[in-house]
Symmetry: C2
Subunit: 205 residues, 2 copies
């Protein structure tokens, strides 16, 4: 009753994008109608080709990552289902993705056949989250950090001294120290640097 599923593929790695496109083309009911190498390009392509499903790499150059694209697509093309494919499956990414309306979240370790199956499932209105990533996300739990704590920790992530962080956050150095101290305590880390690492691992940053 309907034509093939129209797929948008976004991945900055040409080798992978092209190769996946080739493999998916073996499936009669899937058609890759557009490809993109960055988040911005993905949005432009989506507007132009109006795909049924957008398969997005999580990390792409240019600041606009897969989740951002998904969030934008939800308003621009509400009928387009989105899914994320990624190499590094941090729990927090999964949460962000689901919050952005993403319906599929899979690691790149899956085979192309499985990917095709999942694309069909997502297109049909289903959801799919890699079981292992889901387990990680559940065990990681919710972030205990308040908004400001996370914000300040983010600004301190590059290892800059507190003075710099305070200036960038437009806060008093003392306040910054307090936030970093409480964040460090909540993550039971030795100092803010390990706190950053832990928060990153948990996907809370």
């Amino acid at each position: 009753m309907s034509g093939p599923i129209r797929v948008l593929l976004a991945d900055d790695e040409h080798l992978i994008r092209g190769a996946v496109a080739a493999l998916l083309s073996y499936e009669d009911d899937l058609r890759v109608v557009a490809q993109a190498a960055s988040g911005a390009e993905a949005l432009a392509m989506a507007r132009a080709h109006r795909p049924d499903v957008a398969v997005l790499d999580l990390q792409m150059p240019g600041g606009v990552d897969g989740v951002a694209v998904a969030a934008e697509l939800r308003t621009v093309l509400p009928d387009c289902r989105t899914m994320i494919v990624t190499s590094h499956g941090r729990p927090g990414h999964l949460k962000r993705a689901l919050a952005a309306g993403v319906r599929g979240f899979v690691p790149k370790t899956v085979s192309a056949q499985r990917l095709a199956v999942i694309i069909r499932s997502v297109h049909a209105g289903g959801r799919y989250v890699d079981p292992e990533l889901a387990a990680d996300a559940i065990s990681a739990g919710d972030s205990p950090l308040t908004a400001r704590e996370a914000e300040v920790l983010e600004l301190a992530a590059d290892g800059a001294p507190i003075g710099d962080v305070a200036r960038r956050a437009s806060l008093s150095p003392g306040t910054v120290r307090n936030y970093l101290s409480s964040a460090t305590a909540k993550l039971s880390a030795d100092n803010r640097h390990t706190a950053v690492r832990i928060a990153r691992e948990r996907g809370w940053l």
Copy 2:
């Protein structure tokens, strides 16, 4: 006068590995004779199938990365040319790779067609290094860090306090501080944490 080029493909991401294998199979003179999802598996496969060219992902699970595989292959299968494919092209990786006898170093942003061309070139005895990565490596230059400085910086990379680092390095805390201080100065960083970041970026860690 000779058969197709026998290729070993090693990448932990099944999606990519399978897809690249499929694309390379379009080339009449290339044949993917073995695939591996880890460094150890790659070595086993290489021993069993004796490929002409090994295409290795830089980062693979299990401690044995692409460069380690290449180094091992040089003694086990001296006739097998090796090349590295990677997503993150840090200058230092390139150096390590070349030192390990790798003859090709390309980012995953290349197309499959180009990869095929490069495989042929490497098999014919040529070398190929991505121009952009080469430029980065040259501009990054050699590491100014001494062996101990790099070692201590590595141990301090997780943000652990100096006492821990000293214990793990079996050094006096004072000595650790001195090494970290000189390393920080050489990298003109604010503190050891940013020094770690800079060294990582340059591939000196």
